[in-house]
């Protein structure tokens, strides 16, 4: 049992810590699969938009750990890790990864039920492979919901009849076989979907009071494989469950299955839209003070360019570095690097008020140039009179946004303040390095100390390094040797943990520059990541006010020694990509990368993310290359999901950065990309108009 809970904590430690800060209401019942449903059966509902639902289910048949995400108001996706003891013979447990997808076809109305269509396990081993269409109607003031549906695959295995879809075509008569070997796993089994025999299922959920709910269902799953492989007894198609919703948002159910087994499950939902401290808990900004004359401020245009000017100190107190300033007539232009606020809009708002309080009354226009990694990324123009008029205006947020101007700042107009370079920074932190869903052990991780340091001799030039000393962990216990027929560009990952102690994670020189209007450049050389060193160059085109960006990257990478010190192995490769980025609006981001991957394979990566305005991000990606599914091995092609949670979302404090991870069902050598830090798109976009607008509510905070 201990192992089960370790898995749970490993899978979701980050998200769980979030749930302690703020759990959301679960609005629909959750099945043991962690998707909208009764017990084993799905319902015709979906979750509340944006919700992340974590479910753990333990019965004598299987353990299931599921992360579901309501991607859009109608669409959800789930990733599941299941363990079935002795499924592959005594002592041989089956560790299974599966993905689900569901879509709400019809919303419920007064007379009509909601209707959803779903695919279970559409890209895994096919263990739970099934499809359904279900309808759910709420009655009696929403306390009662009745579900009926039709299922295929496993959900069409009990009380089945020939497929009604056969009236459209004969192809629906027979269901495909699914993967026959591990190397076929991971492909979309389209020849199975909605094919073969079908069966009906249904059930009722009754919310007895605020806390207690009762569910009963008629299941259309015969549990054929479990019956033959682990001696499961299917005595009855009726399942029942009793659920209790705790005040902290955790929902716990006990249930009976098929007249022969019992199980327990728990679910928790969180809403990325609702952090515990929506407006943050950092100190108040300085208020706008009455205008003062030059004499009253004992101010002159020369002293303001000194490193110890009142303006410099006041900004520094806010974690904002003043890098340059120029006073011309009634306009002050400043160049600032925000080292503190996750929302650049907040840094702009605070800077504007500090400028107003520290510059004489005849200076009425403020131009704020944002700097990231030493390069200017945008210029925001604000008027003193707007600040004064809107400080406590009921509609101050959109009015101040509408009255601000945003433009590119390829060349800074501010004069550099002397003595701000070189800059030196360091940081000592603990780290957690997880490796999830290795087929032998679902959770491995190392914990240790990490030291990061950076030295900037001049604007845009950054010499930096990160070293780690693992203290405790089991990353090095992996015994699984790479069976890849491709160059081992990623499958040796375990060797890097096994054959190292003190680790140089990165040691690089980076140079950031602006080749022209809307253009950004980066050159990186050194030890780029855990497994590769080399050189990397990138150019990005991204207008400040646009939603579209293009980039190109070229790298020469050499595989590093397993000890993660200075040596290299004799594998080197030229790799690179052309990328297109598009912000669809509403928080939906798409990215397409086409090029050559680390194993020399050519192909493309498609990524899709949902980023909430507060920075909470959930996404998925897949890569198809000219490596055949066979040569790729288990999983057939590279794919995964990823999420990141901003520090300020969790804590409410004004601190940049976040926690996140990428979960791949299996890490192979095909479609593997070099992991260079500080790719330009993410460096640049925070200070561009779309992102500024997303968090503009913080301008006055």
């Amino acid at each position: 049992m201990a192992a089960k809970f370790i898995l749970w904590s490993g899978l979701t430690s980050i998200l769980l810590s979030a749930t302690y800060t703020e759990a959301a209401e679960l609005d629909v019942p959750v099945s043991v699969f962690g998707t909208p449903g009764l017990i084993d059966m799905p319902t015709g509902e979906v979750f509340t938009d944006g919700q992340v639902i974590l479910t753990t289910d333990i019965s004598s048949i299987a353990q299931k750990y599921t992360l579901s995400f309501q991607i859009t108001p109608r669409m959800f996706g789930s990733f599941r890790y299941s363990i079935i003891d002795d499924y592959d013979g005594v002592g041989n447990n089956r560790y299974d990864r599966s993905f689900d997808f569901g879509y709400l076809l019809l919303k419920e109305s007064e007379w009509r039920p909601s209707v959803a269509i779903g695919l279970r396990d559409f890209g895994g081993t096919g263990l739970y492979s099934s499809e359904y269409i279900a309808a759910t109607k709420h009655l009696a003031n929403n306390s009662l919901s009745i579900t009926g549906g039709i299922g295929w695959g496993r959900l069409g295995s009990y009380g089945s009849f020939s497929n009604p879809l056969s009236i459209f075509s004969d192809i629906f008569d027979t269901r495909g076989d699914g993967p026959t070997s591990i190397s076929e796993v991971g492909q979309l089994e389209i020849d199975q979907w909605f094919r073969g025999d079908a069966a009906l299922f249904g059930g009722v959920a009754w919310q007895i009071n605020d806390r207690i709910a009762f569910k009963v269902e008629y299941s259309s799953d015969a549990y054929t494989q479990e019956t033959s492989k682990i001696g499961f007894e299917h005595k009855s198609p009726i399942n029942a469950a009793l659920s209790y919703g705790f005040q902290n948002g955790v929902d716990v159910s006990v249930y009976s299955l098929y007249g022969s087994e019992f199980g327990i499950m728990g679910s928790i939902a969180l809403s990325p839209q609702n952090p515990k401290f929506p407006s943050g808990i950092e100190e108040a900004p300085s208020p706008l003070l009455p205008r003062q004359s030059q004499a009253a401020l004992s101010w002159d245009a020369g002293s303001v360019r000194q490193k110890d000017s009142a303006l410099f100190v006041a900004l520094d107190d806010q974690g904002i570095a003043l890098e340059g300033i120029k006073i011309e007539g009634s306009t002050a232009t400043v160049r600032i690097e925000n080292g503190r606020f996750p929302a650049q809009a907040q840094a702009l708002g605070r800077t504007a008020r500090i400028l107003a309080n520290n510059l004489p009354s005849n200076i009425t226009t403020f131009k704020l140039e944002s700097v990231a990694n030493g390069i200017t990324t945008s210029r925001t123009t604000l008027q003193r009179r707007d600040l004064e008029a809107l400080e406590y205006d009921l509609e101050n947020s959109w009015k101040s946004f509408a009255r601000a101007d945003f433009e590119d700042a390829a060349r800074s107009e501010a004069e550099t303040i002397e003595g701000i370079y070189p800059k030196f920074d360091w940081r000592l932190t603990p780290y957690l390095d997880p490796s999830l869903f290795d087929p032998d052990n679902p959770v491995r991780a190392d914990v240790g100390l990490q030291f990061e340091t950076s030295y900037e001799p001049a604007s845009g030039l950054i010499l930096s390094g990160t070293v780690r000393q693992p203290v405790i962990g089991n990353l090095s216990t992996s015994t699984r040797e790479s069976n890849s027929v491709l160059p081992h560009v990623r499958t040796d990952a375990a060797e890097y943990a096994k054959q190292s102690d003190f680790q140089i994670k990165t040691l690089t020189a980076e140079y950031f520059f602006r080749p022209g209007q809307n253009l950004y450049g980066r050159a990186t050389a050194g030890y780029l990541e855990t497994m590769y060193g080399g050189v990397s160059g990138e150019v990005l085109w991204k207008p400040v006010n646009g939603n579209l960006a293009f980039g190109a990257e070229l790298n020469y990478a050499v595989k590093r020694d397993f000890d993660q010190l200075f040596g290299f192995q004799d594998y080197d490769i030229v790799t690179g990509h052309a990328s297109a980025y598009y912000d669809f609006g509403g928080g939906y981001l798409g990215q397409l990368d086409v090029g050559r991957y680390l194993a020399g394979d050519y192909g493309a990566t498609v990524s899709f993310d949902r980023e909430f305005d507060n920075g909470f991000r959930v996404g998925a990606f897949f890569t198809l290359t000219d490596v055949s599914f066979d040569d790729f091995g288990e999983g057939s092609f590279d794919k995964g999901i990823r999420f990141s949670v901003p520090v300020d979302w969790l804590t409410g404090s004004a601190t940049q950065g976040g926690y996140g991870t990428t979960i791949r069902p299996v890490l192979r050598d095909g479609g593997a990309r070099l992991d260079v830090r500080n790719r330009l798109y993410d460096v640049v976009r925070d200070s561009h108009t779309t992102e500024l607008e997303d968090r503009w509510g913080r301008f006055w905070r």
Partner: protein
């Protein structure tokens, strides 16, 4: 007047929840956890606050209804051309105020970005019951401004003496009952009878934070 030492500033309590363990050259990223473990209850009061307090600026005490014993002191720092005042606390929070009515908060975790309570304020000043409209702008969880509109009923309850510490004010107690389709709340206002000043009040801030109580201090 030495009451500041007895205060339990709650801005700090909120900050400590956010404590992350890390050492760094960046003071904004410093070792908050160490401060916490070190039992650093008494924070250093904000210098600007102390300067204004010493200069005799108007002062008030505010407490959070949702957390027992969480209270702090504010002084008025500045008043702009529109008569909107900014009050700052010793633990670096701020309030936007107009004649005792909150029009903004900063640093409370679930802040009011701005508010328009002027119809209610006018009714209280005039000493009459009435139906008013009140608007409140919050920062929501996605960092967006969100304006809520309420319909409120301002009603006289009773005459009530309020002990302000060394001075008892003769006040009229008013309720302001506000509601919209999602939310309802009740504010209290003790209005001094002669001056029509709000000397004490309970005012709703936001769903997450609840109410704060304010009491002016005689100077």
């Amino acid at each position: 007047m030495s009451f500041t030492t007895a205060l339990r500033p709650f801005g700090l309590a909120l900050t400590l929840i956010a404590g992350l363990t890390a050492c760094s050259s960046d003071p904004d990223n410093s070792n908050l956890l160490a401060d916490f473990i070190g039992g650093k209850d008494a924070i250093e009061p904000d210098e600007t606050f102390l300067a204004y307090e010493a200069a005799g600026a108007p002062e008030l005490i505010m407490s959070l209804q949702s957390i027992p014993n969480a209270f702090t002191a504010f002084v008025r720092q500045t008043t702009n051309a529109k008569g909107e005042e900014t009050w700052i606390s010793l633990d670096r929070l701020s309030l936007g105020m107009k004649d005792g009515m909150i029009i903004a908060t900063r640093g409370l975790g679930a802040d009011q970005l701005a508010a328009d309570p002027y119809q209610t304020l006018a009714a209280l000043k005039a000493g009459r019951n009435g139906i008013t409209e009140r608007f409140i702008t919050h920062i929501n969880g996605e960092s967006q401004a969100e304006i809520l509109a309420f319909r409120c009923s301002v009603t006289f309850q009773k005459q009530a003496p309020v002990d302000l510490g060394g001075y008892t004010a003769n006040t009229d107690l008013y309720y302001e009952d506000c509601r919209n389709t999602q939310t309802k709340f009740r504010n209290f206002f003790w209005v001094e009878r002669d001056s029509r000043q709000l000397v004490q009040s309970r005012q709703w801030i936001s769903e997450n934070l609840g109410y704060v109580a304010l009491r002016t201090l005689p100077r």
